[in-house]
C-alpha cells in the first residue's frame, strides 16, 4: 500500500475513517479518509451510491421518452442538463429552433443556475457555521422556484427544455414577475455580500483552505465554478455561444485565489450575471412559436454529436450516437460533478478534519449528478 510506504515510520498512527454515506457532512457519498491525528493524510472518494444507470436506460427509450429521466440526476439544475441534450438532438435532427424558444431556454436555464447556486450557498453557509445563510438562501431560493414554477409548472423537475424548443409558452404574468424578482434579488445579493462574504468569521474559515492551483485545475480537468475560482476562464456560454447567448451582455467572473472562499464568491458573481441575462432576455423576448412539431417518436438521422452547455456546476456535455432508429445507440452524459470529482482527493490532503465539509461542498459536487 502506498500509504505505508509514505508514512512508514509511524504507520500505526494512521487511522482510517469513513465519512458517509450517513453523515451530516456528506450525503449520498462516502469519503475514505486516512488521518494522522487531526490531519488528513490521504483521502479517496467513494461514489456510486446513487448510480442509477441513466445511460443504459436511455438506450431503451426514444428521444422524447428520455427527457424526464435525464433531468433527474441534477434535479437542482434540471433545465441545464436538458439544455445540452436538446441541443444535441436538435443538431442531429437539424432542427431550426424558433427564436422565442431560444430566449425561453436561456431564461429557464439561468433561473435554474440561480436556484442551484442558492442551494449551494445555503449548505456552504451551514458548513461554515453561518446559520443566517442557510435560512436566507433556502427562503430566497423559493422565490426563484416560484418564478420557474410559473413558467415550467413544477417545483424542481420542469422537463421544460425539450428537443425542438420548449414545452409551453411563458404566461404573460411571468414576465412582470420575473423582472420584479430580478430587481428584488439584486438588492438581496448586496445583503449576502454584507452578511456572509464580508464576514470575518467566514473569511477565517475559508480563506486559503483547499487551494487549487491554476495548473492543477487545468490538468485535472476541473470545470465550472471550481475552475473559475482558480483563475481558469472557462465558460461555454462565452467560449462557444449556443442558443441565444450571443445576444446578451454578460461577463465570466474569474477569481484567482482558488480557495473555498473564492469558490463561494464566484457562485455569487455568477448569479449576478444570470440576473443580468434574465432581465435582458425578458425585455427583448421576441414573438413567435415556441416549439416545432416533432411528434411522439421523432425520426433522428444517423450520426454522432457532442454538444455542451454551461450548467451551474460547469460544462455539461452529451455524446449522442444515433443509428437512425428511434432510440439512441449510445448516450454519454458528461456531467460537471464527475469532472470535478478528481479534484477532491487532491484538496483533501494535509487539511484539518474540521475543514473537510467546506472543501467537499465547496466543489459544488452533487453526488446524484456524478453517479448518474
Amino acid at each position: 500500500m502506498t500509504l505505508e510506504a509514505e508514512y512508514s515510520p509511524d504507520a500505526d498512527r494512521i487511522m482510517s475513517v469513513s465519512l458517509g454515506p450517513q453523515h451530516p457532512g456528506a450525503g449520498h457519498f462516502r469519503i475514505k479518509l486516512w488521518l494522522d491525528g487531526d490531519y488528513v493524510v490521504r483521502s479517496e472518494p467513494d461514489a456510486g451510491y446513487v448510480h442509477r444507470g441513466e445511460e443504459k436506460m436511455s438506450e431503451y427509450r426514444n428521444y422524447i421518452q428520455n427527457v424526464p429521466h435525464l433531468e433527474r440526476p441534477v434535479i437542482l439544475d434540471s433545465s441545464n442538463i436538458l439544455f445540452a441534450y436538446a441541443l444535441g438532438v436538435d443538431e442531429l435532427m437539424n432542427n431550426k429552433v424558433p427564436q422565442r424558444a431560444q430566449y425561453l431556454r436561456v431564461i429557464m436555464s439561468e433561473a435554474n443556475r440561480i436556484i442551484s447556486h442558492m442551494y449551494f450557498l445555503a449548505i456552504q453557509g451551514l458548513f461554515l457555521g453561518h446559520t443566517t445563510m442557510i435560512t436566507w438562501c433556502m427562503g430566497d431560493r423559493d422565490f426563484w422556484i416560484d418564478l420557474a414554477e410559473r413558467i415550467g409548472g413544477a417545483r424542481v423537475t420542469f422537463a421544460y427544455i425539450i428537443p425542438g424548443g420548449v414545452r409551453n409558452d411563458i404566461p404573460p404574468s411571468a414576465i412582470e414577475k420575473g423582472l420584479n424578482t430580478c430587481d428584488w434579488f439584486d438588492k438581496r445579493m448586496d445583503e449576502y455580500e454584507k452578511i456572509f462574504f464580508r464576514n470575518p468569521m467566514v473569511h477565517q474559515r475559508s480563506d486559503g483552505i483547499g487551494v487549487l492551483s491554476r495548473e492543477d485545475a487545468i490538468a485535472y480537468g476541473a470545470t465550472g465554478t471550481v475552475a473559475r475560482a482558480s483563475g481558469v476562464s472557462v465558460d461555454v456560454r462565452k467560449d462557444e455561444p449556443y442558443s441565444a447567448y450571443e445576444d446578451f451582455e454578460f461577463k465570466t467572473p474569474v477569481m484567482t485565489q482558488g480557495d473555498v472562499y473564492a469558490r463561494a464568491y464566484v457562485a455569487l458573481l455568477d448569479m449576478r450575471e444570470s440576473v443580468k441575462i434574465i432581465r435582458q432576455a425578458l425585455k427583448k423576448l421576441p414573438q413567435g412559436p415556441v416549439r416545432l412539431k416533432l411528434g411522439p417518436q421523432p425520426r433522428v438521422p444517423a450520426g454522432e454529436v457532442y454538444s455542451r452547455t454551461e450548467a451551474a456546476r460547469g460544462e455539461m456535455s452529451y455524446y449522442i450516437i444515433s443509428d437512425g432508429s428511434p432510440r439512441p445507440y449510445r448516450l454519454k452524459i458528461g456531467v460537471p460533478s464527475a469532472k470535478n470529482l478528481r479534484v477532491l482527493p487532491l484538496l483533501l490532503r494535509n487539511v484539518h478534519v474540521a475543514d473537510i465539509p467546506p472543501i467537499y461542498w465547496g466543489l459544488n459536487y452533487w453526488p446524484v449528478e456524478a453517479d448518474r
Binding site: 456510486g48 443504459k56 455542451r308 454519454k332
Partner: protein
C-alpha cells in the same frame, strides 16, 4: 489542425463531426503519441470526458477521449481522439500520464465496458457496487433486468 495531425501521423483518420469538432481515429498503438502531440503541440490541455461505445455488430469496442482547450482562441474547439479494439480482449494504454483528469473517466469506462486500461493506477469500481459480478452494464449484450 487536421493537416498538422495527418502530417505528423499518416495513419490517423480525421473527420469533422461539425465545425470546430474534429474526430481523430487512431489505433491503440498510436493513441498515446497522438494524445501527447495534441496536448503539448496543439494545446488541448483540458480533458472533458471519456466515453466508450460498444459496436457489437462489428465486434469492436471504441474509446473516445474528448479534449478541450484553455488556450485563448481555441476554447470552442473539441478534439475527439478515438481508438477501436477487438471486443474479446479489450486492452488499451491509459492516458492518465497525458491528462491527469482522465483517471476517473477511464475508471468508469473500465467498469461500464470492461475495457482494460494498461498502466492505470486503480481500476476498482467507482460507480457500480463492489460485488458486481455480471457483464459490464453498458455492453450491448447486457440486458437490464425488467426489460
Amino acid at each position: 489542425m487536421a493537416a498538422q495531425l495527418t502530417a505528423k501521423f499518416p495513419e490517423v483518420k480525421v473527420d469533422w463531426m461539425k465545425e470546430r469538432r474534429l474526430k481523430v481515429s487512431t489505433s491503440a498503438m498510436h493513441v498515446k503519441e497522438v494524445g501527447l502531440f495534441a496536448r503539448s503541440t496543439l494545446g488541448f490541455d483540458h480533458i472533458s470526458t471519456v466515453s466508450g461505445v460498444d459496436w457489437i455488430a462489428k465486434n469492436e469496442l471504441e474509446v473516445v477521449y474528448f479534449v478541450g482547450s484553455t488556450t485563448p482562441g481555441q476554447e470552442d474547439f473539441i478534439l475527439a481522439i478515438s481508438e477501436r479494439i477487438a471486443r474479446d480482449n479489450p486492452v488499451v494504454p491509459t492516458m492518465v500520464e497525458v491528462w491527469k483528469g482522465a483517471e476517473y473517466h477511464e475508471r468508469e469506462t473500465h467498469e461500464m465496458f470492461g475495457i482494460n486500461f494498461q498502466g492505470h493506477p486503480d481500476q476498482s469500481h467507482l460507480f457500480l457496487p463492489e460485488d458486481w459480478n455480471e457483464l459490464p452494464p453498458l455492453r450491448k449484450d447486457y440486458v437490464s433486468p425488467g426489460r
